[in-house]
Structures are given as structure tokens and as C-alpha cells.
């Protein structure tokens, strides 16, 4: 199981208790160091979603996934993310909303339109 900030905090608290009891060991402190190194190795997953409007409830018509360092092109018909909201409910966090300033001139088109970028950390 991977390290989390919460799990490292718990290890530090346990070590403080061990220090108070007088049985803090070098091995216990090394385990905290290892956990901190694991925290540094966490990877960011990215999900690019192009949607029909700026609403998170709009249908998705374009998708690219960066997962565990790999670029993946999901099959849109098989993807569980029919809308941006579906992805949010699955734990994805929006880090970029569509550029509204670029969408104000209706006489021009800009790429695939309303793009959301979402992230997860693993």
C-alpha cells in the first residue's frame, strides 16, 4: 500500500510516543524516511475532456488520459465518463476550466471547444 500524508503523520505521532516511552528505534525512524521517499514518487494522472459546453453536465466528445505515466486514448463509447460530472464523481479534480475568453467570438472556432483538464494523484 502506498504512503499518504496521513499515514506518515501517524508514523511520526507513534514515534513521538515511542520517544516518550524511551523505546524509539533507528528502524522506526528509517521507516518514516522510506515513507517520505514514497510520497515523493507519487504520480499525477491527467484527464483531458472536451465537452459540448462549459457545463460540467455537458456531453464529452473528446478525451485523452495520462495514467501512471502512460498516454491512453479511451474508447469514448466504453468510457464511464459521458460527462465531466461523471469524472468528478469518480474522484477527478478539475484543475483547468474552459478558457471563456477564447469562446466569446461565435464567428470563429477554436479547436474542439470547451476543454476541462482534471487530475488525480496516485
Amino acid at each position: 500500500m502506498g504512503a499518504t500524508i496521513e499515514s506518515v503523520k501517524s508514523q511520526v505521532k507513534q514515534s513521538i510516543e515511542a520517544f516518550k516511552r524511551g523505546d524509539l528505534t533507528e528502524e522506526r525512524l528509517n521507516r518514516i524516511l522510506e515513507a517520505l521517499e514514497m510520497l515523493n514518487q507519487k504520480r499525477q494522472d491527467l484527464l483531458y475532456l472536451q465537452a459540448g459546453s462549459t457545463s460540467v453536465n455537458a456531453g464529452v466528445h473528446g478525451m485523452l488520459l495520462i495514467q501512471n505515466g502512460e498516454v491512453i486514448e479511451p474508447n469514448l463509447d466504453e468510457s464511464p465518463y459521458k460527462t465531466v460530472l461523471h469524472a468528478i464523481r469518480d474522484g477527478w479534480r478539475i484543475i483547468k476550466f474552459p478558457e471563456m475568453a477564447l469562446l466569446m467570438d461565435e464567428s470563429r472556432t477554436y479547436g474542439l471547444g470547451c476543454e476541462f483538464i482534471l487530475e488525480k494523484w496516485r
Binding site: P74, T109, L112, G113
Partner: protein
């Protein structure tokens, strides 16, 4: 040496409009098998990415470049005495390989004008396993820079140009496309070349007596990646340009032409 060619146009009003809407036309299996085999043999010898010398081979020019169905479509879209290709590119790929990034080719201009065509020829079968070119219908009207398309992946409505040997597909130069991912083992050749307009546009293709500009269907079908009716506006403007009537093109707006609807009479706003 630059050459021009003329022949009988083969596309009808409806087919020209369809080309305006989608930005491409697929002609499946129009080149004879013998020519396809000979082309593959030639490309096994001349593996350069620009085997332009093939344009000096009469058997290739007569059956591919001036192929009656392909040339007839080009004649319909570019008018008489169109310029024939002076450059040949081969997208020769060792499969399997990953998908290429979405792009429009360098030099793309966006708008209703059609002064050249980008054409692709498969001399061998190109099923999904051999990574056929993937096109995004209607994207010839979508402005974007290739360098800003790098993060696009799966796009709803894209078209995989799976086709048997001898297929030719004709595209608007600026259409978004890419080589799709391939899973099979082997070499895939695909030749790409351009034809050029030399005369002003006019409606001199196969005119359909009952084709009505007022009631024709200008819709692309979802998704269009544009504002509502934007697909109709774009396709109608391109068709008018091809007819040599761009100065008459006008959009009234609202529910006026060319918005698709069940009108009880001809829509308002049809250019006279």
C-alpha cells in the same frame, strides 16, 4: 513539369454539398489490382518519403493520378484544366505503431475557398489493424494550430478511412487528420498528393435539376464542434463559393436559411 488536365465532372450537386460538409470524399477500390501491386513493388524499390519520380510513370499517372473516378471528382471541385500533382509523398509506416498526433498539414488556410485538394491513395488493403488515416469530419472549418492539438486523443465522430487496396480519398487540405494506431505486422504505404485550381469557381459539375439551394440539407450531424447551425453556415458558404457566387452569400440569422427545420414554405433569407 507542371501539367493541367480536363475531363468530365462526375460529382452531383448533392455530392459536392456532402464534400463541403464533411471535408472529404472516399472512393473505395477504384484503382485496378494490377496497378496497386505495381505501385507497392515500386515503393519497395523507391522507399524515399517523397518518391516524386513515380509521377513520371505513365502506368501510374493514367490509372491513379488521372483515374476516371478520382479525376472526375477533382474536376467537379476544382474546375476544368486543374493542375495535376508535382509532388508525391509516401507515408510508409512499419506497423505496428502508435497513433500519430492530430494535426492539420502545414500551410492550411481556413475558409470557404477551395483552391487545392489533398488526396490519399492506398495501394494496399488498409483495415483498422494497419492504422488507416483518421479524419475528423467537418474539421476543415475548425481553426486550431497543430501545435495546440497535441493533447487531443479520442474524438467522437472521427472517421477511420479503412479501405481496400485501390482506394482514393479526396480531402480539403485543412482537415484534421492523423495516422491511427496499428496492431498488425508489416509495411503500410499511403501516397499523398495535391491537385490545383487554375480557373475561377463555377457550378459546372453534374447539375441536378431538382437540387434546391433553399431546402438542401446543410447539416453535418453531431458533434459539429461549433455553435448551433455553424455547420450549416460553413457548408453553405463553401458551396456558394464553389458556385462562384460568394458575393451573393448572405446570412440573415435567426431561423433564416440555411437553418434546418420543418418549414411550411421556403425559408427566409435565401440568397437570390
Amino acid at each position: 513539369m507542371r501539367k493541367t488536365y480536363d475531363c468530365v465532372p462526375t460529382l452531383t450537386d448533392s455530392q459536392v454539398l456532402e464534400f463541403c460538409k464533411k471535408g472529404f470524399l472516399m472512393l473505395k477500390g477504384v484503382v485496378p489490382d494490377e496497378i496497386n501491386r505495381r505501385t507497392v513493388e515500386y515503393l519497395d524499390t523507391n522507399t524515399h518519403y517523397e518518391p516524386t519520380e513515380i509521377l513520371e510513370e505513365d502506368w501510374f499517372v493514367d490509372n491513379v493520378i488521372l483515374n476516371p473516378q478520382a479525376a472526375g471528382a477533382v474536376r467537379s471541385l476544382l474546375g476544368k484544366n486543374f493542375g495535376v500533382p508535382i509532388l508525391m509523398s509516401n507515408h510508409r509506416v512499419q506497423c505496428p505503431t502508435s497513433a500519430q498526433g492530430w494535426h492539420r498539414d502545414g500551410g492550411s488556410k481556413h475558409g470557404p475557398e477551395l483552391n487545392y485538394l489533398q488526396v490519399f491513395y492506398y495501394p494496399q488493403d488498409c483495415p483498422l489493424e494497419f492504422g488507416p488515416t483518421e479524419l475528423l469530419p467537418g474539421s476543415h472549418f475548425l481553426f486550431s494550430l497543430s501545435s495546440y492539438m497535441g493533447h487531443y486523443g479520442s474524438i467522437r465522430g472521427s472517421y477511420h478511412s479503412t479501405a481496400p487496396a485501390g482506394s482514393i480519398f479526396i480531402t480539403v487540405y485543412s482537415i484534421w487528420h492523423r495516422r491511427s494506431a496499428s496492431a498488425a505486422e508489416g509495411i503500410r504505404n499511403m501516397l499523398k498528393y495535391n491537385y490545383w485550381r487554375t480557373v475561377p469557381p463555377q457550378r459546372d459539375w453534374m447539375v441536378e435539376p431538382d437540387f434546391d439551394f433553399a431546402t438542401a440539407d446543410y447539416t453535418l450531424g453531431a458533434p459539429t464542434f461549433r455553435q448551433q447551425f455553424g455547420d450549416c453556415y460553413d457548408a453553405a458558404e463553401m458551396l456558394f463559393w464553389l458556385c462562384g457566387k460568394s458575393s451573393e452569400f448572405h446570412l440573415m440569422g435567426g431561423q433564416g436559411w440555411p437553418v434546418p427545420a420543418k418549414f411550411m414554405d421556403k425559408p427566409y433569407g435565401v440568397p437570390s
